[in-house]
Amino acid sequence: MDSTTGVFHESVPFHPASSPDYVPVVPLRRLQSERLRQTVSRVYEHVAFYRQRMHKHGVAPVDVHSVDDIGRLPFTTKDDLRHAYPFGMFAVPIDQVAGLHPPSGLTDKPIVLAYTRRDLEMWTEVIVRCLACCGVRRGDIIQNGCGYNLFTDGLGLHYGAERLGAVVIPISGGDTDHQIMVMRDFGVSAICCTPSYLLYLIERAERLGVDLRQLPLRAAVLVAEPYSEAMRARIEEAAGIKAYEVYGSPEVLGLGVGAECPCQNGLHVLEDHFFPEIVDPATGEPLPEGEEGELVLTTLSRDAMPLLRYRTGDLTALLADPCPCGRTLRRIRRVGRRRGEMFVIEGVEVYVSQVEAALLAVEGTLPHYQIMLTQQEGLDQAEVRVEVTRQVLSDRVGALERLQHRLEQEILRATGVAIPVRLVEPQTIERQRGKGPRIVDTRND
């Protein structure tokens, strides 16, 4: 890899020390500015949507000299992508597209992802760097438990893990007993999956009498879902591993926008490809470093579908203080909350992460839970369903009632709202591809 241009050469084996992760800030900003200018010119020329949007905002490609001018550019929202479906955001003719991920099902709000060869190359590079950031190395045996079909995570991880020089087992999601057998028999050292799936796998292994702490497994690359620090601690303890988060934005690229390093103190954004900003979700005004707001990403090297200032809906903060790992890339705080992962009850905003942290604060409660929102006689009602496990089960009704009460107390403390808890039988809460919907809202049904 050429550390001054950030160009990733396929023929040169990956070496973390020569990665663009360590480029000093000044040349990094120069590179970002150059790539931003190119991106703006390309979308202005090839994407009618952006040309019109820029005209409306009174900005032309010549007005953008560096990343300091990025605030002059218009935002892109998820709704814009929906309106542009299927080809409206393409900056290249279809014959230059090498990979196409249409929506994963019939939906009234479809979004498409397209990649050219260069995009796939860039995607591979960012995944390699993300995996390396998480401490995954050449020679690691990686069990890729992410879906390989129309969801992009599985494929992206596969490309990167191959390039890294790891052994990739493309097992995809589900069939947990089989996953545990493969993990044990082949000495898997790293697993990629969603946090809730890993938690389920840990439980299942326990039940099968397989002690994950005795296996070579040492790292988990967790994707696609926010999860609390308490949940991470539980995963790390129960499986005897380190768990790292890799961040992606499904509309911007898929997985590979940023990753945690061994310091586990925020995710380094691969800024040479994705320029991060934090804005006030309500006004769109930029927020200073350290303040929480909505993450906005501009792609700096996307070919097929470049995006300007895409509103990700993820709430986080930008951290610019130096990281002990030596990477110069700025970090974002782990995304605990998404704009959609929030509900309002009794006039109070409640985030799923607050409920999860409360559940985890009560000893012995594994976080298979679901928040049910219903309407009864015109009033909104919330209920948190929590699965009972062997670990917390008692033969005494009083003990379970106390558990229920403690859970309710913690939720009240965390959210400021009294939300009743209902204890339910194991495996009764829906799990989709190891990723269950945390909120089931039937208020308007």
Binding site: R390, D395, R396, L400, L423, V424, E425, P426, Q427
Partner: protein
Amino acid sequence: MKIPQISVFLENKPGRLITPCRLLTEAGINILTLSLADTEQFGILRLIVRQWQRARDLLESSGLAVTVTEVLAIEVRDQPGGLLELLEVFQRAGINVEYMYAFTARLGNRAVLVFRFDDLDRAITALTRAGINPVSPVTLYDSLEEA
């Protein structure tokens, strides 16, 4: 002399009792006695069976939450005052009974009760001092299955 008791968590919904009962039936496991403690939302089904390990594994692998605790089976005279004598032993020793239920079958002319204490060993000591021996698991299983 301690008897393993299986407890199963069930949601308080119509038909939920059928699942564990059917599983045990299919495995040919006889329920010697049971009790159901319930609240508005959930219940705990407690079972005494001879093959408790098999029953536990079976119920667990079907996805139910199961826990095993130890209880005592104690014989009492099946006459007025039989239970009272026993309860007075606990009261004198300051031992708290968490809950109790009965076997339907009798041992000879005596009734058999299941007791759950918060401190099992203290209960055993108090009973022994009072000259009462809890029924051993083997005696219990054998005589109840014959009966």
